[in-house]
Structure formats: C-alpha cells, structure tokens
Amino acid sequence: MPTATAKRITIDPITRIEGHLRIDVEVDQGKVNKAWASSTMFRGIERILLGRDPREAWLFTQRFCGVCTTVHALASVRAVEDALDLPIPINAQYIRNLILIAHAMHDHIVHFYHLSALDWVDVTQVLKADPVKASSIAESLSDWRNNSAKEMAAVKARVKGLVDSGQLGPFAHGYWGHPAMKLPPEVNLIAVAHYLQALEYQRYANQVVAMLGGKTPHIQNVAVGGVANAINLESEAALNLDRLYQMKSLLDKVVSFVQNVYVPDVCAVAGFYPDWFNYGAGVTNYLSVPDLPLDERSTKFDLPGGFIPNGDLSKFHPITGQKDAYWRKAVTEDSEHAWYKGGGPLHPWKGETDPEYTDWKEDGKYSWVKAPRFEGQPAQVGPLANVLAGYASGNPLMVKWTDAALSKISAIAKIKATPAMLHSTLGRHGARAVRTAVLSELAVKHWQLLTDNITKGDTTIFNQPSFPKGQIEGVGFHEAPRGTLSHWVVIDNGAIKNYQAVVPTTWNASPRDSKGTSGPYEASLIGNPIADPQHPLEVLRTVHSFDPCMACAVHMFDPTGQNVAKVKVL
C-alpha cells in the first residue's frame, strides 16, 4: 500500500493536438512502486493500405515513422514476398543487408550520443575538466586519434562559449547538478567531444543508405522481388566498383568510430554507474528474430534470433526464419487496456483496429498501444534481446564483443561484470553498443560478399512477382534498431485485405494485458530510485535505455512550446 507520502509523477510530452509517449509513475519512499506507459496518439495508419496493390505497400509503410523509414520498407516487401513464396536474388539480399546495417549503425550511434547520453553526462561539469587529463583518460580507453588534449581544449572552449552566452543550447534541458550525476569532469568532457564527433560519423552511415537507396530518408530502391539498383561494372550510372569503394571508405570510418569510440564510451559510462546494473530489468522474456539473410530463400542468417523465457539463456528457443511455425503462431495482440474495441488476444492476420477512446483510466483502457504477446507472455525486444540470443546460441561475434565489453566495464568499475548484469537499464545500453560493434564487422563482410558476387559476373537483382487468385497470407520480419518488427499482410486477389505492423516499441511500451501483466517499460521502472520527484532523471534513464520510438510521428512546429514535454508531480 502506498504511504501518505506517495507521489504521482507524469511525464507527458504533448498536450493539445497529438501525443507520443506518456509515462506515469507512483513514487513512494524514494522508489517507483507503480508505472504506466501510454501512447497518447491513435495509430491506425495501417488502414490506409486496405485495398491497395501489395507491391506499393512499402512506399506507404516507410512513412509510418520518419526515423525508421527503411525498416518499414523492408519489412513490408518481405511480408509480400513471404506470402508469394518468392525467392530474392542474392545481390538484392546483400544490398538490403548493407542498407539495414548502415541504418542500424547510424541509429544506434545517434541514440546513445544525441538522445540518451545526456541522462548520464553533466555538461556543466565540463568547465571543471582538465583537457590534458581528459585526453590521457580517453587515450587509455582506445587508440582513437581524435582524443588529443588540443581537441579536448577546443571542445571545452566551445562549451564555455555556450555557458557564457547564458543558454545551454542542445543541453538546456539536462538535469544539471542532479545528485544522480556521477561522472568525473574529464569523462563529461570526453563525452561532449564525442557527441560532436558522433554528429559527423553517423552521417557517413546515412550516406551509405543514400548511395544504395537512391536517397534518404525515403529510400527508392526496394521492390517486391528484389531491388532496383542496376548493377553494371562498365556504367557510371549503375552500381559499379567506383561506387562500391566509395561506400567502403564511408563504412570504414563508421566501423572505426563504433569500435574505438562508441563501445569504449558506453563501457566508461557503465563503469561509473555500476548501480544501474541493479535497476530496470523489468520483463526478462526476450524476443528477437534472425536477420541479414545469406541465401535467396532466407533460411540462413548472420544475426541469430529467438525467444528467451525469464532471462534463462539455457531455455533459448531459436526462430529459424519467417516460415518457422513456432514464430508464426506465437504472436498475438491484446487490447484489454488499449483504446480499441474488443479485448483479444488476436493473431495479427486477424487483427482489428477499431478505436474506442475512454480517457486515461488507470484500471481500464489507458493507451493507444496494443499489448503484443509471445505465447501469451510480454516480451522485451531490442538490442539486448538480440545480443542475449547471440550469446545463448554461441554466435562468435556476439560472444566476442559481449565478453570484451564486460571485461572493459570490469576494469573501469573494479567489479566483476557478468552477463547476468545485462538484465538492467545499463545492460540495454551495453547491448546496443555490442550489437553495433557486431554490425560494424558484418558491414565489412556483407560489402565483401556483394562485391565478390558482382565481380563474379552476377548482376541479377529482381524476381518478378505474380499474384494468385484467392487469399494468401505473409509475414515479414526485421530485427530493427529498436527490436523485432513484423508486418503481417493478408492479400486477396492481388489486393491488400488486412495489414498489421507490430512495431518494436509496441512490444516495449505495451500496456497491461487482460491478465493484468505489465509491459517492459512499466515493469522496468518498478524499484527505480527517485532522488528528486521534480526532476525524475532516473525515469528518463530507464525509459531512454529502450530507445523508445512511437511509430507514425506527427511533426508539427510549435512556436509557443505548448507541445513540449512536461513533468507534473501530484
């Protein structure tokens, strides 16, 4: 029972017209004891697809989300190809894989440096940092060449200029001086230096997506049946060796940044906040799907996936591909606590999206997000789920980078960091860095596979789809930066009859289901310490560690600032 001192905190980003993610927590005696995650905007945009040509669905689905355009394009074509049982030329698989890898590296870097690092880094402390000492700490962590004392001094001067101007620019909303901030001044300086470098290096990854996709953010090269990238080593207009090597040089820069900057930085932050290995586990059922297919029928993959119940890696159940009956049957969505008619659970092919808004009711319906379930249970998705699947299945790259990160954290924190500690807020950040490092190696591998196949003389990129009479069903999945994404399509006489996208954030931001079981965000917040209810930094740390992304963002500029996140304490 809450005591008389229990406080309710609401973090509600949006007020008047639309909304994304709202978090409510009840804090008692300095700890969270209840939590609710709610999406405040109806997302029934799959309905736009009904009756359309399945070959065009990807053009619409990549508009679901402005940050994850490519992932929705690829999941969509995979769903239609699955329904048609259509194999994909190997060149097309490699080209898609390179797009997915480049996008994911870009996305993971941006997430850490530009969305969540400021939960751990106190920018105002930078003014107290000694650039020479910062440089020597950074150089002890890796041999990255942009860690000189001169570089650190220049960044310190830049921060001083910002502070002297009376505004903190991009850092204006950090919880500066918060008692939960623990990094030494020099580590704060290193983090800000790398924040700026990350702006540059993530862009190289984005340029690779643009080179293969035609442009970004909306790629143009995808097709049901393959890709539209003409390959011709003799033509300047086509994918040729010159372009491949331009791409390689961009990839090499990103690979180096990931391995020499991002991974060491995450280990350093983790090393200074070892307490945060104790908070934020939440739902420890983990779901990920295999990705980066290596054959035309997508039966072999470079990234493993599967289901882990209750954090027990020995019970890992692999998912072998989109055709795996275990996977196809296990996914349902429940709308008992979501603003839709009926309660479910329903399989996505039978999914319904009929809104029934009731206002925010703590024991009733309180979110526009449905509750996805795997074999009836909530599941956490994201890089941690993917890395644990890799660790459980003995994937060599996943094991190598996980062990390397744990030993680096052990050295910095002077503790014995173990894989069991990954079930936590910090574990999600660590796993995202590990996954990015794995992807950085696979970027080079898939670039080589594509280049070798092309120089061998194979220029095939497309298999023509043809639609049968009658009804067919398909699922396309993708292990996206935020976790397992699946598009479920029912096609009738060549037209879309039903379409449901079960997006990663739906798994993680899931409300309670008909059994009353909480979703991952909600469960992960329980027990988090709250030092200052007016400044609930700890809630942001845990929620940000999932990398929330409410699909189908509305974008609207608000000169009055009414649509800005507000913290309300009752």
């Binding site: 945009i45 940050v67 941006v110 992304c549 974008h555 996140a565």
Partner: protein
Amino acid sequence: MKTAIYGIGNILLGDDGVGPAVARYLSLNTSLGPDVTIEDLGTPSLDLPNYMTEYDLIIFVDAVAAADATPGTVRLYSREEIVAAPTGIHISPHEPTINDALIVLDFAGTAPKDVLLVGVVPQTLEGGMTLSPSVAGAVPRAAGTVLAELGKRSYAS
C-alpha cells in the same frame, strides 16, 4: 548560394502532409536550377541535422500550431523565431524538431546562416492521405511565400 526547400510532415496523417505537398507543388511547377534542392523529408526529427549542413539557405515548410489562426493560414518565421521556440525533455527521437536541429548545429558550428520556416496551420492530423480543403487551398500560397523569399535573395522562378 546552395539552397534547400524542405517539406516536413507525415503524408499519412492528414494536414501534417502539407509540407511535403508544398515541396511536391514546387517540384512540379517551378524550375529553380541545380543550386536549389527541393525535398519531401517526411518526419526526420533527430536525423534532421544530416540534411542541413551543406546549404547557405534552407526554407522549411511545415504544419505549425497557432491557436489564434484559422486552418490554412500561412505564416513566415525567421531563424530567430525558430530558435526561440521552447524545446523540452525528449522522450523519443521523434520529438526533436527544427529548432532542436538548429541548436545542435549552432553548437557544432556547422549550422546554415539563413533559415526560414513557412508554416501552414492545419485543420486535422487524423489518419488519411488528403489535405482538408482550407489547407489544400493554402498550398499555392505557401509555395508563393517560398518563391518570394527566394526572389528577395535574387532567385527568380
């Protein structure tokens, strides 16, 4: 002078698609030469800085919240007004907006100097791929505002 005209917004969500609609209108009805890029950028949020560093002038076209104006009203905002709009704590990468992108690039020292926002007040942001009549009627006017600003900087349509 390298220039970008960017339509911002989600084409699947009613009048939020007005920015992309203006970009499309300008692509179809003008020829501004190789120095002017016209693009529907969708809702790039945290990725927006990636599209901003190589230009001298950027004109954004976006839906804007304005409680005192009727749907379809077109308003022009200066760089100072954009940067002055309050930002907040961001929970998801969707929330950062044009002002956040400019603030980040100002700190990095790579921000474009000349930035404008042509805003159109929406009527509805509910799911759907058509603009409401008042907002559809504003598309040529918003495009005209863009062209007038280019003209002031010695561009002719």
